[in-house]
Symmetry: D2
Subunit: 141 residues, 4 copies
């Protein structure tokens, strides 16, 4: 399987489609069935105690898998999340950016399934893990 979108094409697509989060996500690397995305952590993503909020980590896992799938199927498809199971394992480091690594295990005609690991940058142990299923709508001509 080969990529249908390059790193640059993914970046342009992201800025075009999600202008409201422009500058918050950086796509670091893409390869067939793999992608790495950085989330810039700002004050608005923090909870009391200085830690990154759960919804911020959920959104990062969701965006990361979405981009991993689009890289494989191209920008025309409207994939939607149908399930996410996420485990919050450690308290993220306050004010550190997050790095997410997605791996697609199945890229079917109808469903795509993969895992995401999220790290506080500079740390070795992941702060969260997630598995996600996306539904891929049939193409229309």
């Amino acid at each position: 399987m080969s990529l249908k979108m390059s790193l640059d094409e993914l970046r342009v697509f992201m800025d075009d489609q999600f202008p409201q989060v422009k500058g918050e996500f950086e796509i670091l690397d893409v390869a067939p069935l793999h992608i790495t995305v950085r989330k810039l952590v700002e004050d608005k993503h923090l909870r009391p105690g200085g830690t990154v909020s759960g919804p911020t980590m959920f959104m990062l896992a969701d965006v990361c898998m979405y981009l991993a799938i689009l890289a494989m199927i191209g920008p025309k498809a409207l994939a939607v999340t149908t399930n996410c199971s996420i485990d919050f394992m450690r308290k993220p480091v306050a004010h550190a950016n997050l790095r997410a690594e997605a791996r697609i295990h199945k890229l079917g005609r109808v469903l795509a399934v993969g895992d995401v690991l999220i790290y506080s940058e500079g740390e070795e142990a992941p702060v969260a893990r997630a598995s996600l299923t996306y539904s891929i709508p049939p193409e229309r001509d």
Copy 2:
């Protein structure tokens, strides 16, 4: 089991602890092991197509279970989400508010487990379902 926090006490606690989302959540009803919370949907919660975003629904499920637990154990405990499995089942109605109903199935010494159903207000079929586990830290004197 009886409530340790009334509806009014939960509302005051929520405003105090989460001033950044003040006015976005309305606690509608609370009973032992049950709670109902409304999320006011604003433009910033929408995705392309006018639908409510996944992270917004995740946050609502998370807040709803958190408040259901605090109502039972009181405001002193610092409960944290350890797992959430969420299914996005239908596209939410554009611009309709969301209503979440949480039910606690287990309230243990260390872990609490429950389910949340999320509806677009005015609709009968749920748009999402979630199950969440919270870790309840030991009390310190």
Copy 3:
């Protein structure tokens, strides 16, 4: 929505299709989007300590949702589980039978999603909860 299979039709279907577990499951009640199934617990389902094993509870949740779906779509479809998230919340009572109650939240053209609660018979608090997604293959003529 109305039932496509009666209680008796489901029982006959179950015995025909799964002869290897004949007599282990009793369908107690069926209604649109709801079903109740009893699992007879035998020594082979027990773990050290006399408690019912996790795989036994998983199988019960899986069978219960499968029958709830078949009751709605009829016996011709070959539905398969795509995801199950299960929480084991309490130790089941040793040697007590299990009772599972399934509720379907979404019955789509392609995916069905529902929740199952499992009880040790005679107890009020559930021992496990599960949410399951089934994929429903397209019909062929």
Copy 4:
């Protein structure tokens, strides 16, 4: 972190504690936070159509994570599964054995979290993925 149980010690423990499945599981390899386990597939594990049943794959994921944890904490602890989220992604090859690879992401004082990938032996793409949380009871002297 280093192993508290060797490959041989794990094998002896498994045969002692779970005599009812003796010979069904082969521990192939163990390393800190990683383990590989083979499940010998027999006729009783098959569903109509010749494919391995869901409960059989669930049990393999559960056993694999359990052994990965015991290898790290030693045989004295009584760890129990609290959550499993499993995705069935492909139909297993009929009559092929299964191979499961577990990776522990967090080994805390109270909770352990990890992922398992399951393969039909000889195939490159996984048939299932699972994430599991185990509760580790406090030690008593």
